[in-house]
């Protein structure tokens, strides 16, 4: 555990703050890269996911594309883009957006799909327009799963953004790569601890958010809800 103490000391050493390669600068950089990436990915993926979830069309395409992206090694994508556009933030940013899209897309459409079909059917039967069904029923009820998708995307991006500095994109990866090159293991461990801490904080923030956005009626009396649902199975096959 000697390394661990040294790493903590490294983190709290005032000399490691302030400069362009300071812990404060790099942490802020890492965080803003991650937030920016997730924001851009969300702008692309949420409308697409809602479209798929609401219409039920293009689902197999969305699943196939997401599956394909999942198998795509982000490191390879990042490097091949970097060969094209040069070193810097552009290549990692694009690669990370690609990485984040499947989780958010899945969160958006699975949030819609998880809603009891009878609820949507009833909303249509009482005369809601398609936009009203989306806005007043599907979006609020699907929010917990969407936040779940954003949470997973954020976790993946925070973790993977450590690769950004491999092509000079900045972020906390610097401490990992520099420490490795100079066999400065306290520095490696310190960088790792900061990234892990950021990931855990993100998990905590999102899990709180996820709880907050569950619509009130869905939390209340959940056991009863299950009972009512299962008793409905008997007659679920009306003509």
């Amino acid at each position: 555990m000697n390394y661990f103490a040294e790493a903590i000391a490294w983190i709290f050493n005032p000399r490691h703050y302030g400069a362009y390669d300071g812990i404060d600068t790099r942490t802020l950089q890492h965080l803003s890269i991650s937030l920016g990436v997730v924001a851009v990915a969300a702008v692309i993926a949420i409308p697409l996911g809602y479209l798929v979830g609401h219409t039920g069309r293009g689902r197999s395409l969305a699943v196939a594309v997401s599956g394909g992206i999942r198998a795509l090694p982000t490191l390879g994508l990042l490097i091949i883009i970097a060969l094209g556009v040069g070193i810097g933030l552009e290549a990692p940013f694009v690669a990370l957006v690609v990485l984040a899209i499947p989780s958010i897309l899945a969160g958006a459409y699975s949030g819609f799909e998880a809603i009891d079909r009878r609820t949507v059917d009833a909303a249509r039967a009482v005369g809601m327009t398609e936009w009203q069904i989306v806005g007043r029923v599907e979006v609020p009820l699907g929010l917990p799963l969407l936040i779940g998708g954003l949470r997973l995307a954020m976790l993946q991006v925070i973790a993977t953004a450590t690769l950004a500095d491999y092509v000079g994109g900045g972020g906390l990866g610097l401490f990992l790569f520099r420490g490795l090159k100079t066999s400065d293991y306290p520095q490696v461990l310190a960088g790792s601890i900061i990234v892990i801490a950021m990931a855990i904080v993100s998990e905590i923030v999102f899990s709180i958010l996820q709880r907050l956005v569950v619509p009130a009626g869905v939390v209340a009396g959940q056991t009863q809800y299950v009972r009512v649902k299962s008793s409905g199975l008997r007659v679920a096959s009306g003509s």
């Binding site: 999942r70 490097i79 899945a106 690769l163 461990l189």
Partner: protein
């Protein structure tokens, strides 16, 4: 094409190294997750505990883990065992959850009828619960295998050999063809192993064949997956 043709031997060797690093992690995470998933599903308290620990392990980025692990287990920084062990940890974090979910998905009526027929708790688990949880387990293994194969490439930035070495080498020597070869081969490996798993599932679980091709597995984005890096 010339680069590929001139380097067939290197490509083949890296593919084998890649598999030798990734496959044990996939198998190990499946084997380890069965008792952990059982434990999680068995008791109310252990359920929350196991899932929390899994979520925490899962939050650890893999590049730091590759680097930090040797400090604890005493291997060299460039040893592929670091990658295998790290990826096993992620695999277990994912699979234990799938296993617990899968076991929980087995109809309580079926368990009771198995008990009433005279199955012991032990034989009921192996002959009724685990097989019936199979489809959920398979979906979990498929996610783990795809992400493990993809994540194995990350070791390359630390000098641990895999198809990812084609990325780093191609970057340093400015050979796009080499990087592309690495990307295509990684995806191909992931898809081949995914297909093998689906085939294995059909052989081992013939009763699931009647249903239309499942929504589960690696291509189902609703399932959780390992963090890239």
């Amino acid at each position: 094409m010339t680069w590929i043709l001139n380097n067939l031997e290197l490509i083949g060797q890296l593919t084998l190294t890649h598999l030798a690093t990734a496959l044990p992690a996939i198998v190990l995470s499946f084997v380890l997750s069965v008792p952990i998933g059982w434990f999680a599903n068995r008791f109310h308290v252990s359920h929350g505990l196991v899932l929390t620990v899994c979520a925490l392990l899962y939050a650890i980025p893999s590049l730091p883990l590759f680097l930090v692990l040797p400090l604890f287990i005493g291997t060299s920084t460039r040893d592929s065992v670091n990658v295998t062990i790290s990826l096993t940890i992620y695999g277990v974090a994912l699979m234990a959850r799938s296993t617990a979910d899968g076991l929980a998905s087995v109809d309580a009526d079926i368990n009771q009828s198995a008990t009433s027929m005279g199955f012991s708790a032990w034989s009921r688990f192996w002959r009724v619960e685990l097989p019936l949880a199979g489809p959920v387990l398979l979906a979990g293994v498929r996610v783990v295998s795809v992400s493990t194969i993809s994540l194995t490439t990350v070791g390359a930035v630390l000098g641990i050999g895999s198809l990812g070495s084609l990325f780093t080498d191609g970057f340093q020597r400015n050979i796009p063809e080499e990087i592309l070869t690495g990307i295509v081969l990684t995806i191909a490996l992931a898809l081949i192993i995914d297909l093998l798993l689906v085939g294995l599932g059909r052989v081992l679980m013939p009763w699931t064949r009647a249903k239309t091709s499942g929504t589960g597995g690696a291509l189902n984005p609703t399932a959780r997956e390992a963090v890239t890096v």
